[in-house]
């Protein structure tokens, strides 16, 4: 599912800038449109400005410049409690002195809802996250995963159209995290709500999102659906941040029919697709995913340029094998290949020739 049908600009960041000290910008000229019903993830290293953007959207921080619109309305001066945005915090922020039921009933109470309607809604929300039996418990009596569900239910109980999640699964162990990823995604699909999700976990971002905005240095580096982001990164930062990646330095030697020939430092020629560098003679970093590298000539496209590689070691990972190669003077070139019956056994010290489809290698800005 790409951008969902309906309003294409439900949430809009229009030339938004944010500075805390008046000296440096934490968010630099952010432009972003989020469609209604979309699951958008803000992904980036810490300090990249993603959480600041979320806080500005929630109303806990004010934009230094620019406009944030929700459903066509400028919300720059609307206080947080009037925005009607549900929010899930990393620490869950369940009120420790209230029971689970009271926690859920709180947003309804402050909206002046009568008690019978409150009870119906609370019961429905608890049912939605399969926690109906826990209404009388205190948050401290729940496990991390259970608290997470309650926090989710509380953010949804007043039927907000937009829900913000600030690294909500950061405190859970791996297995539980994967399970909750699935549940959150399922809830999103079922309720049709718009979700803005902040994380620094790229795996989480890839599995859950409709679109991902990769943040770095206060800017969105790339905004795209997960497959595009992974397979066609627009610059070296995105290529390096999402998934495992091999980088080879060189200069563009030839451009022809959407393909580029890149000469590496040691004189070897390799195939690539021009990314954000597409001028002959320019230095570039060619980025190739480890699983797209071939070492059997039969699997390479005709006329592909190959490189000599020395196997340094091979790590057995169960479903795949991960070989570390020495290529063009670099020791840390990684190749992944499937662990199938009768797969070729590579051993350290062996010399092989590797190559790839030109579309799988992208000539990006030099690092």
């Amino acid at each position: 599912m790409a951008v969902a049908a309906g309003n294409d600009a439900f949430v809009v960041f229009d030339h938004v800038q944010k500075s805390y000290d008046g000296q440096t910008l934490v968010v630099k000229d952010l432009n972003l449109s989020i469609g209604k019903g979309e699951f958008l993830t803000m992904l980036g290293p810490s300090g990249s400005g993603k959480t600041t953007c979320l806080m500005m959207l929630a109303g806990f921080e004010t934009a230094t410049h620019g406009e944030i619109r929700l459903n066509g309305r400028n919300i720059n001066d609307v206080p947080p409690h009037k925005r009607g945005i549900g929010m899930v915090f990393q620490s869950y922020a369940l009120f420790p002195h209230m029971t689970v039921g009271e926690n859920l009933s709180f947003p309804l109470e402050v909206r002046g809802m009568n008690s019978s309607e409150r009870n119906t809604r609370v019961a429905r929300a608890l049912d939605m996250v399969q926690m109906s039996k826990f209404a009388a418990r205190r948050p401290a009596q729940l496990s991390g995963g259970q608290q997470q569900r309650i926090a989710l239910a509380r953010a949804l109980v007043f039927d907000p159209e937009l829900v913000l999640m600030d690294e909500p699964l950061g405190a859970l162990d791996k297995q539980l995290r994967e399970h909750m990823q699935y549940e959150i995604k399922a809830l999103h699909d079922r309720l049709g709500i718009t979700v803005v999700y902040v994380t620094h976990d790229q795996g989480e971002a890839l599995t859950m999102s409709d679109r991902i905005a990769v943040f770095n240095d206060g800017r969105i580096q790339q905004l795209a659906p997960p497959p595009v982001l992974y397979e066609k990164p627009e610059n070296s930062f995105v290529a390096g941040f999402i998934g495992e990646n091999n980088a080879l330095q060189g200069n563009i030697e030839q451009l022809e029919g959407g393909k580029a020939l890149v000469r590496l430092g040691n004189g070897d020629l390799i195939d690539a697709t021009p990314g954000n560098i597409c001028e002959i003679g320019k230095p570039t970093t060619v980025s190739i995913r480890p699983e797209r590298i071939e070492f059997k000539p039969s699997l390479m496209p005709a006329g592909a340029h190959t490189l000599e590689a020395e196997v340094k070691d091979v790590v057995y990972m169960g479903d795949i094998l991960r070989a570390r190669l020495k290529v063009a003077g670099h020791d840390n070139f990684v190749m992944k290949y499937r662990n199938t019956l009768g797969q070729v056994k590579l051993s350290p010290g062996e010399t092989i020739r590797i190559g790839w489809h030109p579309e799988d290698a992208r000539a990006l800005d030099p690092v």
């Binding site: 109303g59 206080p79 409690h81 009607g84 549900g86 915090f89 620490s91 009120f95 947003p107 402050v110």
Partner: protein, 433 residues
Amino acid sequence: MAKALDPHAAIVTEAVGLLPEGTLQTADGQPLSRALARSSRRARRRAFLLVLPLLAFILLTFVLPIGQMLQRSIKNDGFSANMPQLSAWFDANPRGTEPDEAAWGALAADLQAAAESKTIGVVGTRINYDMAGTRSLFTGAGRKVRDGLEPPYRDAMLDIDQKWGDPRLWSVMREASSPYTGNFYLAAMDRTRDDNGNIVQVAEQQRIYLKLFMRTFWLSLIITCTTFLLGFPIAHLLATLPMRKSNLLMILVLLPFWTSLLVRTTAWMVLLQQQGVVNDILVWLGVIRDDQRLQMIFNQTGTIIAMTHILLPFMILPLYSVMRTINPSYVRAARSLGATSWTAFRRIYFPQTLPGLGAGALLVFILAVGYYITPALVGGSSGQLISNMIAMHMTQTLNWSLAAALATLLLGGVLILYWVYDRLVGIDNLKLG
């Protein structure tokens, strides 16, 4: 299946299987609890040795003297030890028996012995506690009986002073003939015994202690409230400011701790007296006329102001330490859920500060109840607290038994409050730092 996979599972099951139900044993068949006790005995002994010096110090300098002092509130043998024959007569004859010739004889003999051993003053002082103005009766009689009296002793004694015939004196002496008495507690609660030994209130103009107790608790309550009202916003500010700024402000909060109590109190005198700085400014501003200068010190107002200032850190520190731990995302969550900032404060933030508030309030209240120096200096007559009365009995009237009784009542009152607090809030909800 699981058992087969886990090699330890089989061993454990086997070992447990050998035992009588309910008691776990070690591999060589001893009860597990005893083995555990033995293995941790060394650690416990070392821990005990480490705290032993402090324990000894506290026993010697705190528990023992306080215990001695509290004992004085129910025990005073000033009469019984020095008047043995009369005490024996009181023991042998029940209350209501008219003193016969044997009693008068015992009185005369005891007085003579006490006068010779120069303890007659002690006896007089003891009786004087319960019946004012009788000390001179004893010392006067002591001088006269030193050469011995001729029977009939009743007439001889009445010759010395008619007051010896007063039935109330005899009632008081009967009370004092036992070294243990509850009379000091009665006195501390403005009660006394009449001629027949019944407990009655003392005369209206002599009732001071109950009023003082009430005033002490009332002023302490006011001081607790003012420290809360002044301290809560400061603690909140300290807890939300960045560490560097809050540390600086914290030094300002702690400054009163590092200044001499006497200097601070004197400073308040300079500021608050009728010709003082505050009054001068008010007159200069035209808020009050020169002949309307406010009386802000040497009364209850002075006590409240000075003690609020001195006890403020005890409220701020526990509040601050609790507020520091409250994650700001709670209030944010409440706001995002639709609460106004006031509702978020009232429903979410404030309830979470209660452990700190409880600790601070309890600390300030208990300290205020026992405060002595500040009310003595700035309290005038209307700002005196019960501790000033205790100090007076300790140092001026030398009625240590009454002082001890007052102190015990004060301690009892505080313990009752502590118990009430525990019932209402729960003592494990207390956070001192």
